[in-house]
């Protein structure tokens, strides 16, 4: 019988083995999350543990803020009330006519045989906090799967487009702001009708890319969503051009814009409902179907070829 030393000094696996084990798991997680985006379920499960903790951590700030609200002076509220009343009356002239204009627009569109404009509707959500990650521009709102929020829905506030829902948890959702480096919004310049795509720069500004150096863009031009993406309804203000750089050594102009919505502020936002998919005309659907069938066939052929080899 082989003699074993007594387990006095049992210490588990060697530190280096443990280190390689954990580093391997962490790197695998990183790669899967960055390349395949396949860990949303894991994230949602873990969020059930971290979100209560986060709420607990935000409790003192919230209670201080609400206590501040309670002690807002009467004079301040009266002044605000008067200001809002005035703003309402000033807006009334345009607002009262909007209804009539929409009816007229609908009638004219029917006459022309153009599809009716879609009505915008959505639900109001409160911004809870900005995500802590310093590399991305994201906010967390207080509506989640419970309120039928889904990834991809557009988010706006009273002044314009704020961003897009990118991750949904049971009770909260993450919104990527339009100023994030990986966010792009198809837009149209109001003055000229020129269509383009506006990209976030990650520093609070936006850039209108791929417009030729001699494009008709001026400081102060307002960009609105063009609606070509099938996500944003057309016509929501996005940004205003603040600086145009025309360098003849580049073929494109560098056009910087500031977002119109209070993107970095903490307030309420509206999560719009999903845009109903626009049906393609019959001949286009047939063409798309044909292309899909062709693509499927080509992958099958590739597989067959691989098998043969």
């Amino acid at each position: 019988m082989e003699h074993q030393p007594p387990p006095f000094f049992k210490r588990g696996p060697a530190p280096l083995a443990l280190l390689s084990f954990y580093v391997a798991i962490a790197v695998a997680l990183l790669v899967i999350d960055a390349r395949l985006q396949a860990l949303e379920v894991v994230r949602q499960a873990l969020s059930l543990f971290t979100h209560p903790l986060q709420q607990l951590a935000h409790l003192p700030a919230h209670s201080v803020a609400s206590a501040g609200d309670y002690f807002v002076s009467l004079a301040h509220l009266r002044e605000e009330n008067a200001r809002l009343q005035q703003a309402r009356i000033e807006k009334a002239t345009t607002l009262l006519r909007t209804q009539q204009l929409e009816v007229e627009n609908e009638r004219l569109r029917k006459l022309l045989g153009v599809k009716e404009r879609q009505q915008a509707s959505g639900q109001v959500a409160q911004i809870l906090y900005a995500a802590r990650d310093p590399y991305t521009r994201r906010i967390v709102i207080d509506k989640g799967q419970q309120d039928q929020i889904a990834a991809g829905l557009p988010v706006i506030d009273d002044a314009g487009v704020v961003g897009q829902v990118t991750r949904v948890f049971p009770f909260v959702a993450e919104v990527t702001l339009i100023t994030d480096k990986e966010q792009a919004v198809p837009v149209q310049i109001v003055r000229t009708g020129q269509r383009s795509v506006v990209f976030g720069l990650g520093n609070g500004q936006l850039e209108l890319r791929f417009l030729p150096a001699n494009a008709d863009v001026q400081n102060g031009d307002v960009l609105v969503t063009s609606g070509l993406d099938g996500i944003f309804l057309p016509g929501f203000p996005v940004a205003r051009v603040v600086h145009v750089e025309r360098d003849t050594s580049y073929s494109f102009a560098r056009i910087f814009c500031m977002p119109l919505a209070g993107v970095e502020n903490f307030s309420e936002v509206i999560v719009l409902e999903q845009r109903p998919p626009v049906a393609l005309p019959a001949e286009l659907t047939a063409a798309a179907g044909g292309r899909e069938a062709k693509a499927a066939k080509s992958t099958q052929a590739r597989k067959k070829r691989l098998r043969r080899e």
Binding site: P15, I25, T50, L56, A131
Partner: protein, 174 residues
């Protein structure tokens, strides 16, 4: 003898596991505070994890660091695994250097801990830059410097429950 600026080497009572757990939970909560978005504030969880990995390398190891890191990743909306990787590496360093670090007085201990704490944001920056993000600026590395200054304070505060009474009195309850 109490923990002083000159020395932290003294005979202490054994640490209570629930106290380690509580200190880690408090550090996680501090990390989730709304003020924590400013980069100047230290990463409390990293600091406390490194502290316990230096003090009690057999109780606080890479498993706890990994779990804490995953929790931070989900709360932070970053890439899943970036904090976990950074914390695991820092805690491994803390455990490996534990015997050496504890030999020194507190100020020099803090100097030894600085590279470990700098490793945490460095690993995250490298991971995110590889994944396609921009460099967030050098302000990002200020947190570990402040955390290093806090090392002596933290040592005193977290070792307080392990201090023995200076004069042994049979009639005193504590």
């Amino acid at each position: 003898m109490q923990t002083s600026y000159r020395s932290s080497a003294r005979i202490l009572l054994p640490v209570r596991p629930w106290f380690i757990a509580c200190s880690l939970a408090v550090a996680l909560l501090l990390n989730l505070l709304p003020t924590a978005a400013s980069p100047v504030l230290p990463d409390w969880l990293a600091l406390v994890l490194v502290f316990w990995s230096v003090r009690e390398p057999r109780r606080v190891g890479m498993g706890l660091a990994f779990l804490g890191g995953i929790a931070m990743d989900v709360a932070d909306a970053g890439l899943l695994g970036q904090h976990a990787l950074a914390y695991v590496l820092a805690v491994y360093g803390g455990g490996a250097l534990s015997r050496r670090i504890l030999w020194f007085p507190l100020a020099e201990q803090a100097l030894h801990v600085l590279p470990l704490l700098l490793l945490v944001p460095l690993v995250q920056v490298v991971v995110r830059v590889i994944a396609g993000a921009d460099f967030p600026g050098f302000g990002y590395f200020l947190g570990p410097l402040l955390a290093t200054l806090l090392w002596p304070v933290l040592t005193f505060a977290l070792l307080l429950p392990q201090h023995q009474p200076v004069d042994h009195d049979a009639n005193r309850p504590l």
